[in-house]
């Protein structure tokens, strides 16, 4: 047995990279446990649990902590070599002659050709980078969350003065001229431009439209708070103006939760004044679900609306008594699930998404009775990547919930930025779950397009082969799942 526990200063890598490094090291022969991570409190707490004695460890959040336990010294050395090799990345071996060092700030990285800055630093530090973009006259998409409302308003005011757009904070999805930013699906070009205050809502809508043969010009994410009274729809109005000027956009859709009343009026006024037709799609109790919104767009464009693709389980599952358990990665998909399930189910649905119709979870990850949980919520993502990238928490919850559930409902989000093969991990987990509880039915809401890099057909086939009903429409998946519960 050989152990290494040490810190390295002056080294920084983001958590996604370090997760991959940790995995590479843990996969080295003879290595029994490995953690390569920045010394944040969350990461440090992991170490005792992995069997490392941290009494002597003095590490701060800017220190890289390398912890490896191996069967012997040779294996430990191999593990440490793997750390160095993984951290070194794929750079060339030549020093070059005067190649400039990589830029360390956004201001340094911007040149005259830059059209957009995409900020995904921890929220506390996102404002400085976004300010750099605006100061250089460049639009910015702030993927980061945890940016204060004051900072958001200040950024958007600076942008307005310069005629620029701030997407976000907390803007998960955008598509500009076919290029996906953040989490986005591969869609065909077409007439629909979307202003989205919801990331997975925009993904669902674009996927359904793409499936119906209706293309997308652009999707401009504005952040979930943009239409609040405090922010006043600043980015929504700017995005509306941009799409109105865009010759490729024939119809603009504003996708959001119901805005604050004053803001709704401002958006309506702007929509009325626009030369391009504008539809507003507001997500909430008693309102159209996203699939109905997509159908409405097809109708408005005078295009046919084929039913969204699905892969029903064979044989079709029967109704059964018990719990509906929804484990979601997409926030808006989870919200839609709560709203639609609550319409169908007699007993209350426990959920961690804000709706008037659900019983709150109050920070817990489970509850007795029906359950819909958004695993992308802050409560669960602190110190680990979003469940659309890292499914480990969801795999854990599937195993834990399956024995006591009647119907398991999952979303699987494909596209740029998402896990490269979610079904590859989920299908075996579903097989195990069905082994443990043969009375279980599984329904999957698959949010993706035929062009997505994960190969949507193969993903659907793998999930279907594991026993799931698979639906491209989230609404249809939820209704199918809830319809399987016997009152």
């Amino acid at each position: 047995m050989a152990t290494h526990l040490a810190t390295r200063s002056g080294v920084y890598a983001d958590s996604v990279t370090l997760m991959q490094v940790s995995q590479a090291v843990a996969g080295t022969e003879g290595v029994e446990a490995a953690l390569v991570a920045m010394g944040t409190p969350v990461n440090l707490e992991l170490l005792p649990g992995m069997g490392f004695d941290t009494d002597e460890l003095d590490a701060g959040p800017n220190d890289l902590v390398v912890a490896i336990r191996a069967s012997d010294e040779d294996a430990l050395a191999a593990g440490l070599d793997a750390v160095d090799a993984s951290l070194a990345g794929g750079g060339g071996g030549t020093r070059g002659f005067g190649a400039p060092p990589a830029p360390r700030t956004t201001a340094d990285a911007i040149d005259e050709d830059t059209t957009l800055v995409l900020v995904s630093t921890p929220g506390e530090h996102a404002v400085a980078e976004a300010r750099d973009a605006l100061a250089a006259g460049v639009d910015v998409m702030v993927f980061s969350d945890h940016v204060s409302v004051d900072d958001e308003v200040a950024l958007k005011d600076v942008a307005a003065e310069a005629g620029l757009l701030v997407m976000g904070p907390d803007a998960g999805t955008a598509i500009v001229g076919g290029v996906g930013l953040g989490f986005a699906n591969v869609v065909s070009p077409g007439p629909v431009g979307i202003v989205a205050a919801s990331g997975t809502g925009a993904q669902q809508l674009t996927c359904l439209l793409d499936d119906a043969g209706i293309g997308i010009s652009h999707v401009l994410g504005v952040g979930g708070r943009d239409l609040s009274a405090a922010v006043g729809g600043r980015a929504t109005l700017a995005a509306l103006a941009l799409l109105d000027e865009d010759p490729a956009t024939e119809l603009v859709v504003v996708l959001s939760k119901p805005p604050a009343p004053d803001v709704a009026e401002a958006v309506t006024t702007a929509a009325d004044a626009a030369a391009t037709p504008v539809r507003t799609a507001l997500l909430g109790p008693g309102r159209d679900d996203l699939t109905t919104v997509a159908e409405g767009i097809a109708t408005a464009l005078d295009r046919p609306w084929p039913a969204p693709t699905s892969w029903p389980a064979d044989p079709p599952p029967r109704r059964r008594p018990g719990r509906l358990v929804g484990l979601f990665a997409g926030g808006t998909l989870a919200t839609e699930a709560v709203l639609l399930a609550a319409e169908v189910l007699a007993d209350p649905v426990h959920a961690n998404v804000a709706t008037d119709v659900a019983a709150p979870l109050d920070g817990a990850v489970t509850a007795d009775g029906h359950l819909v949980v958004d695993l992308g919520e802050d409560d669960y993502t602190a110190g680990r990547p979003h469940p659309m990238i890292d499914q480990s928490l969801r795999l854990e919850r599937i195993a834990a919930e399956a024995p006591d559930a009647a119907v398991l409902l999952l979303d699987v989000v494909l596209g740029h930025g998402a896990h490269p093969d979610p079904a590859g991990e989920l299908a075996p987990a579903l097989t195990s779950a069905l082994d443990a509880n043969p009375g279980l039915a599984v329904v999957v809401s698959l949010c993706g397009t035929a062009g997505d890099p994960q190969d949507r057909e193969a993903q659907a086939a793998a999930l279907h082969a594991a026993g799931a009903s698979v639906h491209l429409s989230n609404a249809e998946a939820v209704r199918t799942a809830a319809g399987l519960i016997e009152a």
Binding site: V16, G182, E245
Partner: protein
Amino acid sequence: MSSRLLTETPDVVTVGVDLFERTLADQGVEVTAVDWRPPSVDGAVLGALDVHRLATANAEAFDRLVAAEPHWVGIASARDAVGIETGQFLHAGPPLTWERASGPMRGALVGAMLYEGMADTPDEAIAIGERGELELAPCHSAGAVGPMAGVVSPSMPMFRVHNDAFGNDAWCTLNEGLGKVLRYGAYADEVVERLTWMQQVLGPALADAVGVHGPLDLRSLVANALQMGDELHNRNRAATSLFVRELMPSLLATDRPTAQLAEVADFVNGNDHFFLNLVMPAAKAATDPCRDIDGSSMVVAMARNGTDFGIQVSGTGDAWFVGPAGVPDGLFLGDYTAEDANPDIGDSTITETSGLGGFAMAAAPAIVKFIGGEVADALEATQSMYGITIGEHPAYQVPILDFRGTPTGIDVVRIVRSGVVPFVNTGIAGREAGTGQVGAGLVTPPMEVFTAAVEALADRARAG
């Protein structure tokens, strides 16, 4: 709208998660990834700064810095130049007491006391120091700069450099040469004898020569030397040669005895670092007019006293932000090793503060051994400084970088955001008093001084 998002080919800068750089590259999009790391201050500190005011103030500070027209115009005794009397001494770096002074600083003070006749033996001088009878002040507080220990006593002759653009003066002692010299903390008889000769022969001869010559343009000489392989901190060979060439006719035109002129010419010509003591006050004369610009985050002084590393920043008045001086890495003379090295010392970092020295390292491939051994190291050093400076010097250019101006105007905000600290070349003094120089190399400034400066700027911004 001036947004180009929907009208131009996407060309994206990503900052943060690596994933998004990869997904964009996979889509064939032109993408530049920021090599981001968390700043050394809380986001709220950077958030408190008024970026518009910061940019305006820094533009003003930078413009003043590069507008400087430093000329060597004369020589005066420290008594007349900086107004010190017997018992008063200037020293390098931020404020210091005898108790906290390192070996070479004490050694230099001992040598200066012997030279001024305040003590007859080193032990007597040490006793004076220990009794607290010395009045010490930083060179920077008196319009002066001093290399290494930077000790200035009243009788020493000093170069007077005048900034024509702003009318201010800066002062520096005359360079003694290498080896056992006062500025490295040596105080043997030969050291004191040399200082006396400099006071009686060298100073007056040079004063006469510059009188004949008239003001000598240091900006033009520095720009020339950069194109001849100097970075003007650890290499002053070209600059010294140019200086000798420029001054020699005037020196010969003075009515001093030929034997004296030969001594002076031989002394100046034999010391590759003679010009260091002219480029330093030239830099000081350029940075002083940049002080006290409200809101500016530009460094106006960066200096070490052998114990502390300190900076002063334009927007924070006379405050020094100090941290522990590091022990330099580099090459050592003879049998000396890193064990013999004193922590970093000297005001010569005024060269880096004005866009020279380590910031101009790419101009001086001949001395790359000091900093790691390869020319690529020198090129990388200069290029990595563009990220922490406000602009590029219009006159100081680096041939190998296609005559790009040197990175000029160190910005503490850029430092805390990028995690890149100034690249500082330096001489290395022996840690024992009386040893002298033991090597030369590179030192890493402590990040905490830049962090503290940014926090102070944020405090001022919050206070309005």
